[in-house]
Amino acid sequence: MAIAALKTQRRNLVQSMFDEGVLDNQFNQLQDLQDSSNPNFVEEVISLFCNDAERIITELNRYLNDQNVDFSKLDSYVHQLKGSSSSIGAYRLKLACVNLRQASEERNMEECAGAFNSIRREYYVVRSKLQVLIQLERHIVNLENQQ
């Protein structure tokens, strides 16, 4: 049965994300808040998160490439990204933000650059996996509605 196979795939994907630390328990909390009256809640939150994260990553990149790095602005942006990562359960991305905050506090430019690269990398990892998850979810819902 196609739906069962898709559900298994979805379950395995989510499990692998937990196992790899890409997601943490907060993501479960999000899923628990979705119900028939709010069937797109998780997808909506993910979408808001991605738009926000991309905006912040662009800003971080800009500030890090300045002649005179404005560390307080940097910190403010990282704080925001850390907050939203934490809110959706993007665990490794949150940790990468903690590292950048640390490096920024120490005014260590090399560490900042490394930490920022981690942030970018972790963001793309979580985004691409969540996109697959959303596609699976939509596919399942379509098939269920056809029944």
């Binding site: 999000l30 808040l33 709010n38 939150v45 926000d52 704080h79 850390k82 907050g83 934490s86 809110s87």
Partner: protein, 159 residues
Amino acid sequence: MEMAVDKTQFHVLAVDDSLIDRKLIERLLKTSSFQVTVVDSGSKALEFLGLNDDEHEQRDSNSDEDQDHQDLGVNLIITDYCMPGMTGYDLLKRIKKSSCFRDIPVVIMSSENIPSRINRCLEDGAEEFLLKPVQLSDVNKLRPHLMKARSNERLFDQH
């Protein structure tokens, strides 16, 4: 006199500058059967309540306009701590200074676990301090504060 607000439901005013956190807190509160108003800043919260940012309230506490404030029926304010401009702490202080609204329970949320911050908020009148990300179990902790405030209100009304 007909009350504009359904007395059986509690109305929570949520304040957070983060779009994602606003969405989350709204869902959390609605799932717990609260009526919710969400705003993105302390000054918008004050505006919603009909308070201005000034230190001194311009209305005297016995004026008719205050009755309108009561009909907004805000039973609890839950606010993020770290916000640009007016912080959650500033908002707490402002609410507690207000003769109309000082009895409304205020809950503070923060992503940072800083004991001195937590203690200061609690000492200055916050009912609870919640660490983000806020969970459904945290939201369930709010109801006793609301029930208590309501029964105090009723007690006051009888006198």
